[in-house]
């Protein structure tokens, strides 16, 4: 058991160590003494309560988008459309929040706004989902097309529909706003961490346990593992794929809680952009566990905040380079780790029955291992 846990964690530790090494190399290439850049990065994040608050703030949307990618991945689908799902949901959510009566109390206003955002996110995800389920079109191509369409819809909505030149919505109703965390932890003062963070953590754990413990949740996973077997068993594979993808879109959309609702108090063009892409790295690092997703989101939130801290010396884009490299590193490291386990299994005295056709590793497993 203990050994198994170590083996599961090892790839992540190796990948993070590789990432830190790469960061030092990049810092060196920009003429910085590596250790000093690293120290600035640390001081700007975990070194002060404010920095740590900012880390939590940066991690919050990644919790939602990381969970979103994970949910789709369980069904063997790659939802790389979180970027567009979140953007359109943020706009519509903020518009609804801005038009709620100011006297509406939070227990009513907040759920309304979150439900609207989730519905819009699911609707945006519906396009790649239905094309995949009914027409067999790969969701990656269609999700990118939808992302680009949303990219054009947003400025058009501001300029043509709303007739505003500022590219932002009106302020949201006070009932829809999530309070900052510094209300209860005064030392976070000034940081943008809000109650969206605990909300996100609760949703990650709740969603992951629902996926593991309910029938539809487990069916989503089976569909990702063996679609043919599910079909033979009478499970509606297409419907489960649709469910996973819509759920994924809805969860990605909830990231609006940390940006428009918990931070700005309105939505402006580009708010929360990039969270959809980082969510992929979160899901890959999170290894399909709720606690993994939380830790991965905090780690990538640290990277983002550290990027801002070192920006004057090393461009913050270096952190995005690091993030992409981490996806590769953790994939390679876990592949190597699982190959080791494979050798152990092969040494098993039980011979495997011969097969005419070697079954391909299912997408949902192979992507992770």
């Amino acid at each position: 058991m203990n050994d198994k846990r170590v083996r599961a964690l090892l790839p992540i530790v190796l990948a993070i160590a590789g990432g830190i090494l790469l960061f030092n190399l990049i810092a060196f290439a920009f003429g910085e003494a590596p250790a000093s850049a690293l120290r600035v990065a640390f001081e700007g994040t975990w070194g002060t309560p404010y920095g740590f608050g900012q880390v939590l703030f940066k991690a919050t949307p990644l919790l939602f988008t990381g969970l979103a990618f994970e949910v789709a991945l369980r069904a063997g689908l790659f939802n790389i459309g979180a970027e567009g799902q979140l953007a359109l949901a943020s706009l519509v959510g903020a518009l609804v929040a801005a038009n709620l009566p100011a006297s509406l109390p939070m227990p009513i206003a907040l759920p309304i706004v979150l439900a609207v955002a989730a519905a819009v996110g699911a609707l945006v995800a519906f396009v790649p989902a239905i094309l995949r389920a009914r027409r067999g079109v790969h969701e990656i191509i269609t999700a990118i097309m939808v992302n680009r369409i949303v990219d054009a819809i947003l400025p058009w909505t501001f300029s043509t529909v709303l007739g505003s030149t500022s590219l932002r919505t009106a302020d949201i109703a006070p009932g829809a706003a999530l309070p900052r965390l510094d209300r209860v932890v005064p030392s976070f003062a000034g940081s943008a961490a809000s109650f969206a963070f605990p909300l996100a953590v609760v949703i990650v754990f709740a969603a992951m346990s629902l996926l593991d413990r309910t029938r539809p949740g487990r069916e989503i996973r089976w569909v990702g593992l063996r679609p043919e077997a599910c079909r033979a068993e009478g499970i509606d594979v297409e419907r489960r794929m649709l469910l996973a993808m819509l759920l994924s879109g809805a969860l990605a959309a909830l990231a609006v809680s940390s940006t428009a609702l918990g931070y700005k108090g309105y939505y402006e063009l580009g708010l929360g952009a990039g969270a959809g892409w980082s969510g992929i790295a979160v899901a890959m690092l999170g290894r399909g566990k709720a606690i993994g997703i939380v830790l991965a989101a905090i780690f990538l939130g640290t990277l983002e905040q550290a990027g801002l801290a070192v920006n004057a010396r090393v461009p913050k884009e270096a952190m995005d380079v690091l993030e992409a490299t981490l996806i590769v590193l953790v994939a390679v490291a876990s592949r190597v780790a699982s190959k080791r386990t494979g050798v152990v299994q092969a040494a098993d005295p039980e011979p495997e029955p011969p097969r005419d056709n070697p079954a391909p590793t299912p997408a949902s497993e192979e992507a992770r291992s």
């Binding site: 079109v137 990118i144 939808v146 369409i149 884009e317 391909p360």
Partner: protein, 303 residues
């Protein structure tokens, strides 16, 4: 209306179609060899950045082109190493490749030109007559060396895949890697060779894109790699048809640019920009289901 059926329109369509067609041919090479390649977007972007930065430094667009092709081959081979040797899932590797290309070119812009959005202008190839007539524009488009390379790649790909020993091996590796390995051919080596060709041709498209704009802009590939992938799927993984699909796409986009000023005044406004993406979605939705996909796409010779 006459502006729609003119030499200018034809010139524009061809000019616009070249990066799409290069990426699509690159996609055909990778996927006919059995490697899922969604990283075309990243290779286009890297090709464009390399072409501009080398041209900017050396004042030679030819060196820029060569460097771009080299970068494309390197990225494509990196993808191949990850998927074929380390057995990382090709979609994950492709996503990482795209993110890496976007981030690295942004970092490069900051490092080299201290800009977050674009590089300074460069002096690209200047051949053919000057002037604004449709004929002159068409000649300029056709006299471009990058266009010529792209045309050669488009023309040669179906021939090489169908008639040469290498092409046969590529198709064999893509259709049935297990059988291919059983006759003593190294599937990995064949696939890596095909990926090198794929990366080179795709990067050519990136260089064309950048030379056309005479500068590099952050994220300038703008989804072209994915639209090209859609063209590959719709064409049934056949190079000639994929290139034709890209040309049709070029016509559509040229039409959009021509109509843009008219449409801008109406309520549709900037939504006209979504035309290429909406069209891709429609074509994918209406095209026949997964006809002609290589049987061994994403499969390996041995686990």
């Amino acid at each position: 209306m006459s502006s729609i059926f003119s030499l200018t329109m034809l010139a524009e369509s061809i000019r616009i179609a070249v990066p799409y067609a290069c990426a699509a041919i690159g996609g055909v090479w990778a996927e006919r060899a059995g490697v899922i390649q969604i990283g075309l977007e990243g290779i286009l972007l890297t090709g464009a950045f390399t072409a501009v930065s080398v041209t900017h430094a050396t004042h030679s667009p030819t060196l820029g082109l060569v460097a771009a092709i080299g970068a494309g081959i390197a990225l494509s081979l990196g993808h191949g190493q990850l998927t074929e040797r380390a057995r990382v899932h090709a979609v994950i590797s492709g996503i990482a490749l795209n993110l890496l290309a976007l981030a690295a070119t942004r970092m490069g812009l900051r490092a080299l030109y201290d800009s977050a959005s674009n590089s300074p202008g460069i002096e690209a190839y200047r051949f053919g007559p000057t002037g604004a007539t449709g004929g002159a524009m068409l000649l300029r488009v056709l006299a471009d060396p990058v266009f010529f390379c792209a045309l050669a790649a488009v023309a040669a790909t179906p021939f090489v895949l169908r008639n040469t020993r290498f092409g046969l091996r590529v198709r064999a590796a893509g259709e049935n890697p297990v059988a291919t390995a059983s006759v003593g051919i190294s599937v990995t080596r064949v696939r890596l060779s095909a990926l090198a060709v794929s990366g080179a041709i795709c990067a050519l498209g990136g260089a064309h894109l950048a030379y056309d704009q005479q500068r590099f802009e952050s994220g300038m590939s703008a989804g072209r790699g994915f639209i090209a992938l859609a063209a590959v799927v719709v064409s049934g993984w056949r190079a000639g048809r994929a290139a034709l699909a890209c040309l049709a796409f070029g016509v559509l986009e040229a039409l959009q640019i021509t109509l843009q000023d008219e449409v801008r005044k109406t309520a549709v406004g900037d939504l006209i920009q979504t035309l290429p993406y909406v069209a891709t979605l429609l074509v994918l939705a209406l095209a026949p289901r997964r006809a002609g996909a290589p049987e061994g796409l994403g499969k390996h010779a041995a686990e």
